[in-house]
């Protein structure tokens, strides 16, 4: 009876090229270029290791993003379970063969790069749950037997990552998964129950936290508690951002980062450096471009017909938003310090790879917006 306007399973290359979201691509490119400047500055205004490898990574993964955009949406739908299982196996592998650095075991050594499977899991979980809810009818969503699998699929990777230990990434993975279940229509009361259970379990969970993680939470609550120890990062970050003022100290003139007051300036605190050098207007621009990226992905969700595409785009947009929000809130002293990189800007191959992969899938949703997944 109801026939879709056009059901085309095959698109010409020209069609695909025209249906790409160029605003999104330009926004990502903009953030990429901004990150190169920031990285150049962290290297002390020289073309050093971090800058070089960041640029190479950006170029490689940006191309990956564009390439993936041309993949059929159906391909992602079909392989998503496989991808999830594969990434899960990688996470298990980390447990046994992972590289340990500064107390946590997060990386797998693949010769050409050290892969952090937990970063990939952020996208893989969203992909897997989107597919899962795609085929479940609305009335079945809240049935117990259909709740079982998502809960297992969500909790097992989160626990694995948590025990690496990597609190930040595990939270981000969980948020991505929860978003899909929320969007899929799982009842609000389940979330309420889950929160109650979580809150009651929290004291027990806290007792499992490492001392440094406890210190970070306490420090967040009162950064002046230990200004030279745990509170140092957050205080110095606030000083750097605040001292940037309206127009910033100027490119390569960020004294806080130059004189090494800023910790982790390549990774989690890259926004601080950017903010110090380019000031309020610079930070605002970056914030707006991130908003634009999120808006464009949501927009793809709006125009995509398939439930899989919608779920995926909305969830990925939300996850992307959470990454940005968590990182920025963290460096601005609004959240405790958890290891959460700023998408695209922060130094780190796995994070970049996972984000570009996610963006690519979203883009392929755009290209194949009218194509049914099955």
């Amino acid at each position: 009876m109801f026939q879709p306007r056009s059901i085309q399973t095959t698109l010409s290359f020209r069609d695909k090229l025209f249906s790409l979201d160029y605003v999104l691509i330009c926004s990502v490119l903009f953030i990429g270029i901004a990150s190169m400047f920031a990285m150049y500055s962290t290297d002390g205004g020289e073309f050093n290791y971090h800058t070089k490898s960041h640029i190479i990574r950006f170029v490689v993964f940006f191309s990956l993003f564009l390439m993936i955009s041309f993949f059929q949406i159906r391909f992602w739908h079909q392989t998503s379970t496989l991808i999830f299982i594969f990434v899960f196996i990688l996470l298990l592998a980390v447990k046994y063969f992972g590289l340990t650095s500064s107390g946590s075991q997060r990386w797998l050594n693949f010769y050409f790069m050290n892969l952090q499977p937990s970063e990939l899991m952020k996208v893989a979980l969203i992909l897997f749950l989107s597919k899962y809810y795609h085929r479940i009818s609305n009335s079945d969503v809240n049935k117990a037997k259909f709740l079982f699998l998502p809960i297992v699929a969500l909790i097992s990777p989160v626990l694995l990552v948590l025990t690496q230990p990597d609190l930040g990434t595990s939270i981000l993975i969980a948020i991505g998964g929860i978003t899909v279940t929320w969007l899929a229509g799982v009842r609000v009361k389940f979330f309420t129950y889950a929160s109650i259970v979580f809150i009651t379990l929290l004291p027990i969970a806290i007792s499992f936290l490492k001392p440094y993680q406890k210190a970070r939470i306490l420090t967040f609550l009162n950064p002046d508690r230990d200004p030279l120890g745990a509170g140092y990062q957050i205080i110095q970050s606030k000083i750097a951002i605040g001292s940037g003022g309206l127009f910033g100290k100027g490119f390569l003139n960020g004294s806080q980062s130059y004189l090494d007051y800023l910790p982790e300036k390549h990774t989690d605190f890259i926004f601080t450096l950017f903010s110090e050098e380019f000031g309020f207007f610079g930070s605002l621009t970056v914030l707006l471009v991130y908003s634009l990226i999120i808006y464009r992905i949501v927009n793809i969700g709006n125009i995509t017909r398939s439930t899989f595409g919608k779920l995926y785009c909305y969830s990925f947009a939300t996850a992307f938003f959470v990454y940005v929000a968590v990182n920025m809130s963290m460096v601005l002293g609004l959240l405790p310090i958890v290891g959460a990189p700023l998408p695209i800007m922060s130094y780190g191959g796995s994070s970049m790879m996972s984000i570009m992969l996610g963006l690519g899938i979203a883009m392929s949703c755009k290209v194949y917006k009218d194509v049914p997944v099955n």
Binding site: N138, I241, S329
Partner: protein
């Protein structure tokens, strides 16, 4: 089938969109929150954070102030500053202080004792307060330290200035500086803002007296530092302000030659300009090396200084108290004449001793001097004659005159080590000893024994005020911009116009004189008697006379007993040199020169030197010659330099 599916899909996508809408609102709220935070940090509180950022970036190191220079009358430097190389540690900046000391120990050859002391000091003070590990490194040590600096976090090599005293002979006058102690920091207001490592303050002498003005102002160096406290670049240097410079009235040449004359003696020599009170020389022997105190005195040297019986640390000229002995006879005579209780022509026969209420009072000459009048009693220093004068005069009148001439009070202002001495009187004894005066003590006082205590500088001032015709002068050791009292001009005018009365306007306009006499004839009589003592055969210091008119001086010897001569010693005629050193008499001599036109007064005290005529007068002779030789030079310099400080 399809339709249900489609219907299902539509419901599903509506649900999804509804829930997405909720999320989107939440996202907008969060981003607005982040935006708000950016506004608050980068716009509202930007100034605060800029200040904090600068506080991070810049670190200031205070620099110890540079003290002013002290020069002598001829602009020779007697206290200057030298560049020194130091190592400071800021404990806060060092990750491991134990390790740091271990490394430093190898580089600088620190002793374990020193390290122990430093560690204890670190515990006591605040972690950001630097401590000085070593304040005077050699260049080779300093360059070696700089070589290893990259592995010595928390260590600051500092090029600073420290006090340097090029001349040992003036050590007592200049005094010395040494590290400030907590008590001084607490009590001295001008040190309040000066808490800086390596701060030294004057402990004695001029350094103490002038400390407030000579100390200078604290400077600072501002560096940009990185998070590890490593200096990245120098931003600003304010070297502070050097303290005020001073010019002394001292003639360093006279100081030096006098020190040479006093070699191996425990003695003091003071030379004063009799008209304006300028102290030309004030030597205390033996001297010490004040430089050792600047960098913390070595224990062995310190032991040697404080155990030495000749007391090198004490400035004998102002803190040594000696009974004036026969030198007081000048004042006793003057007092008796001024009070009209004695006629100088009155004759008394000296038989070597007199008796009063059963107590025997001996003359230094056992056989006695025979018939004496006042002039010959001064000339030959007859004790018996002055016992009688003193008895008639009474101690209270004597005390009044002695005080008028500067005895019994501090005559130099601001010297911590100066002592006032004692001029006894009946009320003094009542007050301080709590007993009544008895007449025998008057007799002892008449020959400058008993309770009488005076410093060599007081004796010098006394002599100067006799020599200048009995006018009050104020001793000074620093040149002043103030116009002097015009005494020199007054005397010159009087000498040139002996028979004319002084024009009234001249007196009123130019002179500010306070005569200490009632009748100047009495002063002239004492001067004349002193002349006879040195320049007439039989005078006590006749053997030290200079017959050359240019250098001819008039003096009075004195020997003050440290320990009472016993009757047995008297009968055995024990010589001074046969008594143990510390029981020997102090030898004193006061004089003015040249006789015809007096310019300078001198006092010589040789501790346990024996008799004044043999131990003190010969010294005076040499010093007077030197001083007078340099008189013209001194006058000219004064014209050249003026009173510039």
């Amino acid at each position: 089938m399809i339709s249900t599916n489609n219907g299902n899909t539509v419901i599903k996508s509506k649900l999804i969109s509804r829930r997405m809408f909720v999320l989107s609102v939440a996202k907008a709220v969060v981003f607005l929150g982040i935006f708000g935070r950016l506004v608050s940090l980068q716009i509202n509180e930007a100034t605060k954070y800029k200040t904090l950022s600068d506080k991070n970036r810049f670190r200031e190191w205070k620099l110890a102030p540079q003290r002013g220079v002290i020069k002598d009358y001829f602009n020779n430097i007697i206290a200057s500053n030298e560049k020194v190389y130091q190592v400071h540690i800021t404990p806060e900046n060092s990750p491991n202080i134990e390790e740091l000391f271990f490394k430093l120990k190898r580089i600088l050859n620190l002793t374990d004792k020193r390290i122990f002391y430093l560690k204890r000091k670190i515990v006591k003070q605040k972690p950001w307060e630097p401590i000085i590990v070593s304040d005077n490194l050699t260049w080779s040590e300093f360059s070696r330290l700089n070589l290893f600096l990259h592995e010595l976090q928390g260590v600051e090599p500092i090029v600073s200035v420290a006090r340097l005293y090029p001349e040992k002979s003036s050590a007592h006058i200049v005094g010395y500086v040494s590290e400030v102690n907590p008590k001084e920091l607490r009590e001295k207001k001008y040190l309040k803002e000066m808490s800086v490592p390596g701060l030294v303050v004057g402990k004695t002498g001029l350094e103490y007296k002038l400390d407030k003005d000579i100390i200078g102002e604290v400077g600072f160096q501002r560096y940009e530092v990185n998070a590890f406290g490593k200096r990245i670049r120098k931003i600003k240097v304010d070297s502070g302000k050097a303290g005020k410079n001073y010019r002394s009235t001292i003639d360093i040449e006279v100081q030096k030659s006098t020190t040479e004359v006093l070699k191996n003696k425990a003695a003091s020599v003071c030379v004063m300009d009799i008209y304006n009170g300028d102290i030309v020389a004030m030597v205390s022997s033996p001297s010490y090396d004040p430089n050792v105190f600047v960098h913390g005195v070595d224990k062995d040297y310190w032991q040697e200084l404080i155990t030495n019986t000749k007391k090198p640390l004490s400035n004998k000229s102002i803190s040594g108290l000696y009974p004036p002995g026969s030198t007081i006879k000048t004042i006793v005579a003057l007092s008796a004449l001024e009070n009209d209780v004695w006629n100088h022509k009155k004759r008394i026969k000296c038989t070597g001793k007199i008796e009063l209420f059963g107590e025997k009072f001996h003359c230094w000459k056992k056989k006695g001097h025979g018939w004496m009048d006042m002039r010959s009693a001064i000339k030959r220093s007859c004790d018996v004659y002055f016992y009688e004068v003193a008895r008639v005069l009474g101690v209270d009148r004597l005390s009044k005159t002695a005080k008028k001439f500067g005895l019994g009070q501090k005559v130099l202002k601001g010297f911590i080590e100066e002592r006032a001495g004692i001029v006894p009187s009946t009320s003094w004894k009542k007050k301080f000893i709590g007993k009544n005066w008895y007449i025998g003590e008057t007799l002892h006082s008449g020959i400058g024994q008993g309770y009488f205590q005076s410093t060599p500088l007081q004796l010098c001032l006394m002599t100067a005020q006799i020599a200048n015709g009995g006018f009050k002068i104020n001793p000074k050791i620093l040149t002043e911009n103030k116009k002097d009292n015009g005494l020199r001009d007054y005397i010159k005018y009087k000498n040139e116009n002996p028979n004319e009365p002084l024009p009234n306007d001249l007196i009123a306009a130019n002179f500010d004189l306070k005569p200490l006499f009632r009748n100047q004839e009495n002063i002239n009589f004492v001067k004349e008697a002193m002349f006879s003592s040195t320049n007439e055969a039989g005078g006590t210091s006749y053997s030290s006379r200079i017959s050359n008119k240019k250098f001819m001086f008039a003096g009075k010897t004195g020997s003050s007993q440290v320990k009472r001569f016993t009757d047995t010693q008297r009968t055995l005629e024990i010589k001074q040199k046969d008594i143990v050193y510390k029981d020997r008499d102090h030898a004193l001599f006061i004089a003015f020169a040249p006789v015809n036109d007096p310019k300078y007064a001198i006092s010589v005290v040789v501790e346990h030197g024996g008799s004044g005529s043999s131990a003190a007068a010969p010294i005076a002779k040499k010093v007077i010659k030197k001083v007078l030789e340099r008189h013209e030079f001194r006058l000219n310099v004064n014209n050249e330099i003026g009173d510039e400080i």
